[in-house]
Amino acid sequence: MSVRDTPVTQTRAAVAITGLVKAFGGRVVLDHVDLTVLDGQIVTIIGQSGGGKSTLLRCVNLLERPDDGIVEILGKPVCAGGRVVCPDLAALRQSVGMVFQRFHLFPHLTALENVMLAQLKATKVGEREALRRSVELLGRVRLSHRALAFPEQMSGGEQQRVAIARALALRPSVLLFDEPTSALDPESTGEVLGVMRELAGDGMTMVIVTHEVPFAREIADHVVFVDGGRVIEEGPPAVVIDRPVQPRTKAFLASFHNGRSA
């Protein structure tokens, strides 16, 4: 089955960001950044820690409020010139799912209830439908057998897969991943990346901030290298990762490869 309700149209921009500026207490974290994510596209954002990758991602669903620039989701402006122009922030968040580095599951609820909650309380999906859909989603991330476990009883990889199921529950048009495997051991990382590959196969639009360069290389249609709050280089992975032009991209990838071999 497909994650989406509407067929893929390659021309429409799921996310369109222009001239994004964000500063924290005078320190500019994002300096006039542009980013376009087409419907059905998989965009990975790579770069040093502290380079503004996560902030950029968090500006998409307005977890961070940009100081300037325009953010458009599915063709509708949601933020312009530092002001939220989206009349219904909750509805925006329902069309943009998010997966966090440290999962942020609700610890007082079972895996199944974590997936059900937004369906019951953010939308008016009925109990039975929410239950049916949540069981199905847990099946998709291969966690049906853990449906009634609490987060603290699960491994990191299991928790992150529940978090993915939770983010899918409202049938979002775009899924944001903020370093989804950084808090995981190699085995759990493999499980989570496997689920993400399947979502990619289903045609899900995804924006992924990651340290996993080989994974970014494999899964992305488009790679964006961010450093010092700016987009330094972007394009298909065969260019940005295999034959980067910019010296800073080269330096980052070289340090990454050295880090791997060391």
């Binding site: 909750a90 799912g97 966090f100 942020h104 610890p107 909650l117 239950l131 009634l148 609490f150 409202l170």
Partner: protein
């Protein structure tokens, strides 16, 4: 004259008095606790508010009532207010005293419990499209409840025992009845030992039951009927699938 044995008081004839006193004690405890929880939660939310104008009065209130004896509060509400023309009956004055005193303590417990729920939880709920009210009721409050339960339970037992201070305004609760029986029978030791035993029999099972509740809640057991039914249906559905 009463030196022949400890139990001389005709308890069976005082049983109806003790019974009504007991019910009255439970009435004060229940009304006082519910009021203190609601008022304490309001104070805690005020103290977590972004505006200093909202935080300050709540903070001032908490500091004042935490540092004044309950007995002084009882005398002020019953005798003090009466002297300026505000006459409260004993139940109103007693309950009000318990509410204003325990709300101060409970607000401290609630404040730290609410602050103890990590900001990431709010963010995750927001990212799922839950509004502020749904986030508070379904994500923050249930987790804060788990954190607040141990301290709140201690306060409930403490409040139940403190209703005995209302003897000073002849509140017709257990201790007031004890005083009447003691003055009629001149058997202070026996009467007050029996009354102490009654308080123990009330408080000990209560605190044990609350500990049991704490353990259940910590394990994630459902507190609402709706959630219990949801989990039952989930179990049935999952059993059918496997």
């Amino acid at each position: 004259m009463f030196h022949d044995g400890l139990f001389q008081v005709p308890w069976s004839s005082y049983a109806p008095d003790l019974w009504t006193g007991l019910l009255r004690t439970l009435g004060y405890a229940a009304a006082g606790f519910v009021g203190a929880v609601l008022f304490g939660l309001l104070l805690a939310l005020m103290r977590l508010n972004g505006s200093g104008w909202v935080r300050f009065p709540a903070r001032l209130y908490t500091e004042i009532f935490k540092n004044v004896p309950l007995l002084a509060i009882i005398f002020v509400t019953y005798f003090g207010l009466a002297s300026i023309g505000i006459r409260l009956d004993t139940f109103a004055a007693g309950t009000l005293s318990l509410v204003v005193f325990y709300a101060a303590y409970l607000s401290e417990i609630f404040r730290s419990a609410l602050a103890g729920v990590h900001g990431d939880q709010r963010e995750a709920a927001g990212a799922l499209g839950l509004g502020p009210v749904a986030t508070f009721t379904h994500v923050v409050l249930p987790q804060a409840l788990r954190l607040a339960l141990p301290g709140t339970n201690t306060m409930l037992v403490d409040l139940l025992k403190s209703t005995s201070l209302l003897v000073t305004i002849a509140a017709a609760e257990l201790m007031t009845n004890a005083q009447l029986i003691a003055s009629e029978t001149f058997r202070a030791l026996e009467v007050y030992l029996v009354i102490a035993a009654i308080y123990f029999v009330l408080c000990y099972p209560l605190s044990q039951a609350l500990l049991w509740l704490e353990r259940r809640v910590r394990r994630g057991a459902p507190l609402s009927l709706r959630r219990a039914r949801r989990l039952r249906e989930a179990r049935a559905l999952l059993a059918g699938e496997s």
